[in-house]
């Protein structure tokens, strides 16, 4: 008989604890964001689209070699002053698996994955042959809050 009442009281106390937790949550700030109007800032190491800091690139071809899906295409020529100059540096996003190996292997941190995450497009042609040398290439994808 005593156990019966102890059970009831213990049950009531445990229910109170649960109610207290949800009550605290009720007045805490929401962790979700209002997506299209409010956007999250991706973290530093987020794997978005492949991007290039042109001035840092030494044309070593490490990224091209390590890319498991061969989505990078690079060519260069040597000038009279023995300087390497880009012919093209293309990125095929259709093939890219966002593994980030190019980022890891790059000796000068020239190639990296940026923080753009809204990468849906209406046509495949927009994904193919993205010119990494063009600084405005992600202009229409980049959201103002994304650097």
């Amino acid at each position: 008989m005593i156990k019966y009442f102890i059970n009831i009281v213990a049950g009531a106390i445990s229910l109170m604890k649960g109610l207290f937790v949800t009550f605290k949550n009720l007045f805490s700030k929401a962790v979700t964001v209002q997506y299209p109007t409010q956007k999250l800032q991706m973290t530093e190491r987020y794997r978005g689209l492949v991007d290039l800091r042109i001035e840092k690139c030494i044309k070593c071809y490490m990224c091209v070699k390590i890319c498991p899906t061969a989505c990078l295409a690079l060519a260069h020529k040597e000038t009279a002053e023995k300087k390497k100059e880009f012919v093209y540096f293309k990125y095929n996003m259709e093939l890219c698996c966002f593994c980030g190996l190019c980022d890891q292997v790059c000796p000068t941190q020239a190639i990296y994955l940026n923080q753009i995450y809204e990468i849906a497009v209406y046509g495949r042609d927009k994904l193919r042959d993205i010119d990494l040398l063009n600084t405005e290439k992600y202009g229409e994808w980049a959201h103002p809050t994304v650097k």
């Binding site: 109610l19 009720l26 007045f27 805490s28 929401a30 962790v31």
Partner: protein
């Protein structure tokens, strides 16, 4: 001439009650979504109107326009009638719910002298709608839901009615309006044994209206949607309307029987009644979004081994206090 006037008044009161029910149900659906969202640290509906207040309106329009699917093997008459059985008794209960008074007019459709008895009788009918839906759908999940609902409501009716009887004993009347008047000066809940009765009433009422943690008739994880699995469009909306109307009714009953109904200082009576009712509804929502669903055996055990004995003991104590 008098009869025509009476008829017009009847129609007007009926329209007012139906309008209130519809608006209240839509508000409660929005409010429940908001409360649940904030408990889960989300925002809830935000787009349709200010903080999503018009979301329910949009949902109702959607449900009205949806196709009414009738599965092939349903028991048609029963299947068609079930949603009405779920809604109509809840609407009828509004006849004797005292909303207070406005400009000297008592806002109660008819103050029956057997008010409580009438309400108890009608709230029990809504189980019939659920059971009919379960049987008529010709679907094992629906049938299980309906059976569970019948067992649950029959079990929880006992402690609920006994706790209501405690209030009736203290008021000495079955009329809702007079019960409120009996609480002038001191609400029933401030007496220790009535506080226990209030707790029992709220718990068993939660079970009575099939809300979590007692929502085993429509347990999503095991029974799809229980008795309303096969319903769509406006018929589904009617079950939904019935559910939220029942929620309002049990909260209004709790407010009337234990919290002094429309009585309170400073504010107008109607406002007091609505504040109390919606306060209890919010607490029920808080409970819903806190606790997990109980098992069927736990549910039955709780009703018969805990609530009913305590309710009976409480009734005896109330009798002793009154005779003392």
């Amino acid at each position: 001439m008098v009869s025509i006037l009476t008829f017009i008044i009847m129609i007007a009161v009926g329209a007012a009650v139906l309008g209130f029910i519809a608006v209240s149900a839509m508000f409660l659906i929005w409010w429940e979504r908001k409360v649940s969202a904030h408990i889960q640290t989300r925002y809830g509906p935000m787009r349709v109107g200010w903080h999503g207040v018009l979301q329910s309106v949009a949902d109702v329009i959607k449900l009205l326009l949806k196709e009414n699917i009738v599965p092939e093997d349903v028991d048609k008459p029963i299947w068609w009638l079930a949603p009405f059985f779920a809604v109509v008794p809840s609407v009828m209960v509004f006849v004797c719910i005292p909303f207070g008074n406005l400009f000297g007019i008592d806002l109660i459709a008819r103050d029956l002298n057997i008010g409580i008895l009438y309400i108890m009788a009608l709230t029990s009918i809504s189980v019939l709608g659920i059971f009919m839906a379960g049987w008529g759908s010709n679907n094992k999940y629906s049938l299980l839901g309906g059976m569970r609902s019948a067992a649950q409501i029959v079990s929880y009716e006992v402690p609920m009615i006994i706790s209501m009887v405690t209030a009736v004993m203290f008021a000495g009347t079955l009329s809702m309006q007079k019960i409120v008047e009996a609480q002038r000066g001191m609400w029933f809940i401030f007496q220790p044994n009535m506080a226990v009765a209030f707790l029992i009433f709220v718990i068993s009422a939660t079970a009575e209206i099939n809300r979590t943690p007692f929502d085993i008739p429509e347990a999503e994880s095991e029974l799809v949607a229980g008795f309303h699995t096969e319903y769509s469009g406006m018929k589904f909306a009617m079950f939904f309307l019935g559910e939220y109307t029942n929620l309002f009714i049990v909260s209004a009953l709790a407010a009337t029987l234990f919290l002094g109904g429309w009585q309170g200082p400073f504010l107008p009576p109607v406002l007091w009644f609505l504040i109390k009712t919606y306060g209890i509804i919010t607490v029920l929502m808080w409970v819903r979004w806190t606790f997990p669903r109980v098992r069927v055996d736990q549910l039955m055990g709780f009703a018969w081994k805990v609530l009913t004995p305590i309710a009976f003991a409480n009734l005896a104590v109330a009798g002793w206090i009154l005779l003392k």
